[in-house]
Symmetry: C2
Subunit: 83 residues, 2 copies
Amino acid sequence: MPLFMDVHTMDGTVGLDDVAQAHQADLRVQATHGVNYQRYWVDEQNGKIFCLVEAPDAAAAAQVHREAHGLVADEIWPVAEGE
Amino acid sequence: MPLFMDVHTMDGTVGLDDVAQAHQADLRVQATHGVNYQRYWVDEQNGKIFCLVEAPDAAAAAQVHREAHGLVADEIWPVAEGE
């Protein structure tokens, strides 16, 4: 399954707890789209969020975010993990 | 130890093997700076690289890249990993 890193750039700060709740919402929705949000990292002060996600394609990953909480990423990059 | 996600935006494509060699160079240099480059992800076509790194501060992480291969990241963000 293709792997992606998405990048959210929020307007202002973002709380780790808020992102955790959004992630839980993703987990509840993702299976129907064949998507797997694996890990995520948050810069609370700068409002930056990175999500590592397996998905059939970038659109499916975005659709899960859209349905789960509406915060679609600003960028999404198809990546390979290095050894 | 603080955790960071850095982002390299290369001019054109980048090869996974080249990034793997650069990562190995980081591993050889990092200990003296108390830095630990943990994982990295590469978008070969778009020339994007994401490095997850533990470091005393962002400058130390950048110094390892500088000494190891000269490819200092374009962005570096202090992050917390979500649960």
